[in-house]
């Protein structure tokens, strides 16, 4: 018996819902709820995490991310300008840097600056400096590509108009091109901050004192000290969302605003 197109669509929808229900049911049945209750959702024992998760973990995550972003933004701008330079050597250096730091895991960069550089140069850096440099160097590679795209999205006539008014190249870039590029890259730049927030957790590979713990390290510490299984890590994860979801919303707002003003 032939079905109409509408009937076929309805049957297909029922089948999809059926598959979804079976998959969720299988997952629920497969989980060992007693153990999960004790070691993942054991909220009764996490009292001691407060208020230090705010005063230490959240605070340090925000500080590390901010420092990494400041270094990443300045380095990224420099690299983006180098990549657009008429001078080939600058372009090669920038391209090499960007490809390298986008290509290796951020974790290895943290290990290199946390352990390798102190060994190689016989210096002892403090944790804040290491995190600032490691995170900043990785971030600058990603931010450079974002900014380069933004700079290239500014119409060529803007630079020509500025130069025609007698502005030297650098002044035309600073006063005319870069402000417009930043407006264009605001949404992707906000996404870079989200990535940085999460990458700041990689500092756990370094030896930290308790006051230097950020959210992830703070959560891992809770695992060993509270006897609530993985629950502290779940709490730490929730704190990341508290930072990243508003940033996501902000990025979306920037996006819709720039879409509105576009002619």
């Amino acid at each position: 018996m032939a079905m109409t197109a509408r009937q076929r669509a309805r049957v297909s929808l029922y089948i999809q819902i059926g598959i979804f229900v079976v998959a969720v049911a299988a997952l629920v049945l497969a989980i060992d709820w007693k153990t999960v209750g004790n070691s993942v959702f054991n909220f009764a024992k996490i009292g001691p995490m407060f208020p230090d998760i705010f005063l230490v973990g959240l605070k340090n995550t925000l500080i590390y991310t901010f420092l990494g972003f400041v270094v990443g933004l300045s380095g990224g701008l420099l690299l983006a300008l180098m990549k657009l330079s008429a001078f080939p050597l600058y372009r090669w250096i920038a391209t090499g840097y960007i490809e390298f730091f986008r290509g290796v895991p951020a974790l290895l960069v943290f290990i290199a600056f946390g352990y390798g550089v102190p060994l190689a140069f016989g210096v002892q850096w403090n944790v804040t400096l290491i995190v600032m440099i490691s995170l900043g160097m990785v971030a600058s590679a990603y931010i450079a590509e974002t900014l380069r795209a933004g700079l290239q999205a500014v119409p060529k006539g803007q630079l020509e108009a500025a130069r025609s008014l007698g502005m030297p190249q650098w002044r035309a870039m600073v006063s005319i091109v870069i402000p417009q590029a930043f407006k264009i890259v605001l949404p992707p730049l906000t996404n870079e901050v989200i990535l940085l927030t999460k990458d700041s957790s990689l500092i756990y590979v370094l030896g930290l004192t308790a006051s230097q713990y950020e959210l992830t390290k703070f959560g891992r510490d809770g695992i060993s000290s509270l006897g609530a299984g993985l629950t502290p890590l779940l709490v730490a994860g929730a704190f990341y969302l508290v930072i990243t979801i508003p940033l996501s919303l902000l990025a979306r707002k920037f996006e819709s605003r720039s879409a509105r003003t576009k002619r």
């Binding site: 020509e160 500025a162 025609s164 008014l165 007698g166 502005m167 002044r171 006063s175 407006k183």
Partner: protein, 267 residues
């Protein structure tokens, strides 16, 4: 130069006009030679219109005058500057040369006043107060004093182009270059832009204008230069070139431009 007199010239409308001298100018893009030896003199205070079919090199010629394009051969003198001298201070020369683009190229992140003040404060080092005064004067001069706070996307094409003219005038240029200033405009706003340019010509500004507006060329230009294929085909008094051209190519071009709906009927 006396700075007080010079800076107040913006408000009194006094123009120190400069001349242009172009000798045997050649410009190629790869193997494509766009300008094949152009010579052209523009006297201080003179208005010269460059006309010709698209691709004839007239915009490239204009852009060579303020070095937005680098000529390959030949010499250009603008005011006291030799533009083609490799050691010329390009930025200093460009202060004397106002440029108006087909696409306006206003700075979209700045309002009309700030578009007119930014180069004054950053390049000429005028105080913000003085720059604002000059900007206001020039916006009034183009009939837009009441829209000084608007941003470019809040203005019509014709209004944007008039702000672009005010922006150029705020630098007290001695020469103005116009690159098809009305080609991107809605027909009903063309007249406002042309009348601003007409007034500027009356005030004695040296103007080099690439245009397809034959009525404007005939009325305002002292001289008209017809270019085709990278050479000057014909030049002379505006009325004579437009009404009684001597060259076949000029006649053919003007016939098409002045009567675009003309259809050859062949029997």
């Amino acid at each position: 130069m006396n700075d007080v007199v010079n800076s107040s010239s913006g408000s009194t409308g006094t123009i120190h006009a400069a001349g242009v001298s172009i000798k045997d100018l050649r410009k190629s893009y790869g193997s494509n030679e766009v300008l094949k030896g152009i010579s052209l003199d523009v006297a201080p205070g003179e208005v010269v219109c460059l006309i010709g079919p698209s691709g004839s090199g007239k915009s490239t010629l204009l852009r060579c005058v303020n070095l937005l394009e680098q000529p390959n051969e030949g010499a250009i003198h603008v005011g006291g500057f030799e533009a083609t001298d490799p050691d010329v201070d390009i930025d200093k020369m460009r202060r004397k040369v106002g440029m108006v683009f087909q696409q306006f190229n206003l700075f979209p992140h700045l309002n009309a006043t700030a578009n007119c003040t930014i180069a004054q404060t950053k390049v000429l080092k005028r105080s913000q107060e003085e720059a604002d005064k000059v900007a206001r004067h020039n916006l009034e001069r183009v009939g837009l004093g009441h829209l000084a706070d608007r941003f470019p996307d809040q203005l019509s094409g014709g209004q944007q182009q008039r702000v672009a003219i005010a922006r150029a005038l705020s630098m007290n240029p001695e020469l103005m270059l116009f690159d098809e200033p009305t080609s991107a405009l809605d027909p009903e706003t063309v007249g406002d832009v042309l009348s601003v340019m007409r007034n500027l010509a009356k005030e004695g500004m040296t103007m080099l204008v690439v245009t397809h507006e034959m009525g404007f060329a005939r009325e305002v230009a002292d001289r008209v230069v017809f270019m085709d294929g990278g050479v000057v085909v014909e030049e002379g008094v505006a009325e004579q070139v437009i009404s009684a051209p001597t060259q076949a190519r000029t006649k053919e071009f003007l016939r098409r431009v002045l009567d675009p709906t003309h259809i050859e009927i062949q029997e």
